[in-house]
């Protein structure tokens, strides 16, 4: 079942390859069907998932599958390396509490991305082939339990993303696309070295061979003592942790590796921004949780406060940058940086509350930011500009739009009753209760204030008041005597149309429901996070 959810988009991509490029509607519908089928599968998986099983490491009796669910494990490559021995790579996928939430998020966001791609007219066939390739790679990353497999999916993401930004992007797209590519590749090549090093350091307790299995790697007793990344080689373990962390931090993106993100977002077309912010950034923090922390727990313990400090910088620096932006999309992009800071802060707390909060924040940020970028796309389609000062008084002319923007903006700033509040609250509860991150948390709280500032300020400038001089639209008095606004070059419905509502309403509902009753997601997370915290705890580490 998991294989199907991973490879459905690529199957759709192959079908599209056979469709003549003039049949744009068929191409779109094939992609949509694949995305919807993915969604149905995600729901089925969610239904059958047993939240009591923790996952994370190998089982108590050393069972190599651990307590992962929906596991599929077949040998993929078996080689004999001269003078070294066998090399085994497995097609090993499965989910635990951490990955299942991300699987659901990915299915959701990819489906919404397809809907959002509907208006794209340029090279539709190529677009959807790349889009589907990207969707497969993202999903694959979240379910892969073999490091090699993870790495392949991780790198396969880069090329489609490069072209999706580079061909369908804005005026400065070449620069943004190559910057994205170089930054992420720079991060991931080090991952390759660490992966090889880990392979030489870890043995599968059952077969005695070296293994790429992340489950085996997450169990410290499987390490060879004097191997390059074995417990005796303290220095190299620190180095490995740091380069892995940087690789993932580039994806998050964490200050000071964040500069590719605003460029990529500003140039990317709306659906790609949605995918980028909704799913891709989560891969960074997911990678930390799945690989960085459980594989090198003692380094994590030593570096918790550093991660926390970077989290705080992200929160505050991102918020300040967002405050200064004139371009609405750039503001949302910086708000993403700020909100991913909460995830880092929650992780750095190292306790259940903080980590559950971080994971929940990942999910919520995925849905909320998807909403934000969709809403930015809506206004950009109409006005062909995103400059905040080109609007004013929109609320009275586009009430539905304004209403949804308000919900999304409030969710983003963490208003109680909406999902963002719960995750941010949990993050702060966790960070305060941990001695190492207490003071960092105190500083970070300021981020909420600045967050409220830039969000409310932009809301006020765009939606309240009167039309500003030089605005992107004209106010005309219609036949019925009411005032309307008119965008140049826009003949569609002024307020949200049916397709836009289909994309946005489910997200709004999710945001509200999860703000009131978070258990559907939290319930799945808890067992895994408790296990992770146990693996990372100093008490367990001292017994090694």
């Amino acid at each position: 079942m998991l294989s199907l959810i991973v490879f459905l988009p690529i199957i759709a991509g192959l079908i599209i390859l056979a469709v003549p490029s003039s049949q744009k509607q068929i191409i779109r519908i094939v992609s949509l069907l694949a995305a919807l089928a993915q969604g149905v599968l995600a729901v089925l998986i969610w239904k059958d998932y047993n939240p009591a099983l923790p996952g994370i490491t190998a089982g108590p009796n050393g069972s190599p599958l651990g307590s992962f669910q929906f596991v599929e494990r077949v040998p993929w490559i078996n080689l004999d390396l001269a003078g070294f021995g066998p090399l085994n790579i497995e097609y090993f996928i499965g989910v635990d509490g951490i990955s299942i939430t991300m699987v659901i998020l990915t299915a959701l966001v990819s489906a919404i991305g397809v809907l959002s791609s509907w208006p794209i007219q340029k090279q539709v066939k190529g677009y959807f082939i790349l889009y589907n390739l990207l969707a497969t790679a993202m999903m694959g990353c979240f379910v892969a339990l073999d490091f090699f497999l993870f790495y392949v999916f991780w790198e396969v993401m880069l090329l489609p993303m490069y072209f999706l930004i580079g061909i369908w992007g804005g005026p400065n797209r070449e620069y943004a696309a190559i910057k994205f590519f170089l930054y992420t590749l720079f991060g991931s090549v080090f991952m390759l070295l660490v992966m090889i090093g880990l392979y030489f350091s870890v043995t599968d307790p059952v077969t005695g061979n070296h293994t790429f299995s992340l489950v085996a790697m997450a169990t410290q007793s499987n390490y060879i003592k004097d191997a390059i990344l074995g417990p005796d080689n303290v220095v190299w373990r620190y180095v490995a942790f740091i380069v892995l962390f940087i690789g993932f931090a580039i994806k998050v993106p964490m200050f000071p590796f964040h500069t590719w993100l605003p460029d990529a977002h500003v140039e990317a077309p709306t659906p790609i921004s949605v995918i980028l912010a909704g799913v891709l950034l989560k891969l960074g923090t997911y990678g930390m949780i799945r690989i960085n922390f459980p594989l090198f727990p003692e380094v994590f313990q030593a570096g918790m406060y550093v991660i926390g400090i970077f989290g705080a910088i992200n929160i505050i620096y991102g918020a300040f940058c967002a405050l200064a932006q004139q371009d609405l999309k750039k503001m949302v992009a910086y708000s993403s940086i700020s909100h991913m800071g909460y995830v880092l802060l929650g992780l750095s707390a190292g306790n259940s509350e903080g980590m559950v909060g971080a994971l929940y924040q990942m999910f919520n940020h995925g849905t909320i930011t998807a909403m934000l970028f969709l809403l930015v796309g809506v206004i950009y389609d109409r006005a062909h500009t995103r400059q905040i000062d080109k609007f004013g008084g929109l609320a009275s002319y586009m009430p539905v739009y304004a209403g949804l923007v308000t919900v999304a903006w409030f969710a983003s700033l963490g208003l109680p009753g909406l999902s963002g509040f719960i995750s941010e609250a949990l993050v702060f509860v966790g960070a305060f209760s941990s001695v190492t991150t207490r003071y960092i948390a105190m500083v970070s709280v300021l981020g909420i204030v600045f967050g409220a500032a830039y969000l409310l300020w932009s809301l006020q400038r765009m939606f309240l008041g009167q039309r500003k001089p030089g605005a992107a639209y004209d106010v005309v008095t219609g036949d019925d005597g009411h005032e309307h606004i008119h965008f140049h070059d826009w003949n569609g419905k002024l307020d949200l149309d049916a397709r836009e509502l289909t994309m946005l309403v489910p997200l709004v509902i999710i945001t509200i429901v999860l703000g009131i009753y978070p258990m559907p997601i939290l319930g799945m997370l808890t067992a895994s996070i408790n296990k992770l915290v146990e693996v990372l705890s100093p008490v367990v580490l001292s017994q090694l």
């Binding site: 001269a82 580079g166 070449e174």
Partner: protein, 512 residues
Amino acid sequence: MFELPSGAEIQSIIASLKASVGFFIPEIYLSVLFMLLIVIDLVTKSKKNILLSLITLSGLTGSLFFIYQQHSLQSSEFFFGMYVLDEFALFFKYFFVLSGMLAVVVTMADDQFDREVKSIGEYYALIVSMVIGMIMMASSQDLLMIFLSMELVSFTAYILTGYFKKNQRSSEAALKYLIYGAVSSGLMVYGFSLLYGLTAQTNLIKIGIELAATGADKSLVMMLASLLIITGFGYKIGAVPFHFWAPDVYEGAPTPITAYLSVASKAAGFALLMRFFYVAIPHSTATLSSIVGIDWVTLLMILSVASMIYGNVVALWQKNVKRLLAYSSIAHAGYLLLGLIVMGKFGTQATLFYLLSYFLVNFGAFYVVILIANKTGSENLDDYKGLGKTMPVAGAALTVFLVSLVGLPPTVGFIGKLMIFSALLAKGSVYLWLAFIGIMTSVISLYYYMLIPLNMYLREPQQATGKAMNTGIVPKVIMSVLMALTIYFGLFFTSLSDFSKYSSSLFGIVLQ
């Protein structure tokens, strides 16, 4: 005074020669093919001789059969230790015959030959003779044989490079190639003579034994000899600082020859370097510190690091695709050297694997470059603008090949890099810094490789030509097959890896 050998001695020499000929069948077969091609060319005179190319192709295919038969023979030396047959040599025999075949296929696709060349006759014969020369390079175990086979390859390569006689660039390239080649092989022979002076032997195995026994390998003379010899080898593999010929030659030569030189001739250099390095230079593979004498490992490290950095960095500024691929090939020589430095069975396996992947991908890339040049008449980056739309299959194929050259999954190039870096890290942290440089330079390489897809897909053509850019069905099939193989071997590489492992045994030395 020179004494005539006695009757019995002559008898035994003849017997030994007779026994040796049995090991030499593929080479004899190819020599016959070479002569046959010249005769056929004399008999049938026509401008673009499709018959000739088909005969070459089928003749080379036939030689694969004879090479395959050699698997049943015991790995051994013959012709008085001049020549060896082992799994390592067999690997390169296949490699060179296949690259000869691909060179023919690529030549058939190149329209420039119709314009520039009056008679294609000796061209194919020369390709075959280069195959023979390279096979001999990979199998030589004697300084004299090494020199002879290297010169055979070089002279053929000079002629092939200048095959467009009326084309100034082609002639310039040939002349440059000749001058550089002459100087470096002269230096190499000087190194050989010093080595002979030290050991009084020309056989590589005996040289190794002699050096180890006398400790002469620590002497200053040996240092000089090593430096001189590495000049010759470095020139053949195109490593920095012996690379100066490469960009001009690759740009000026007919593109099929560029592809042929950048893959096959480089591989021949590596075959020679590996055999010489492993067999003639005494070393123990137990630990790094116990390598005695002039430190070949350090020399190769310098070459490797310089090639990776120089090749990748200078490629950033190139505006001509052939020149860009020339610098990329310098960089790849650096990656290949990494496998040698590890100096073990694993490293050899990794190097051979990398060669296979490079073979597939580089030929593919040059093939597409030729197809594009047929339509646009240019190899400049600027003229690639908008090609993704007008030539969709070629664009996709070239992108896949370039991604593989960068070393990204799921392509065979990634597995090649993975093998090389694994071989380095399997030795612990000693070579980690080399892996680090390799990794960093491949990130740099991404930028210039991506310039090509960037122009093809992200930019609009300068003037709308409106011409249909149909390459025809055969090239489309070939491109698709090469592209599919690049991805297939990136996901399922067991067969290639097992073959490389099988081929990593050399006669006369046991690698760890």
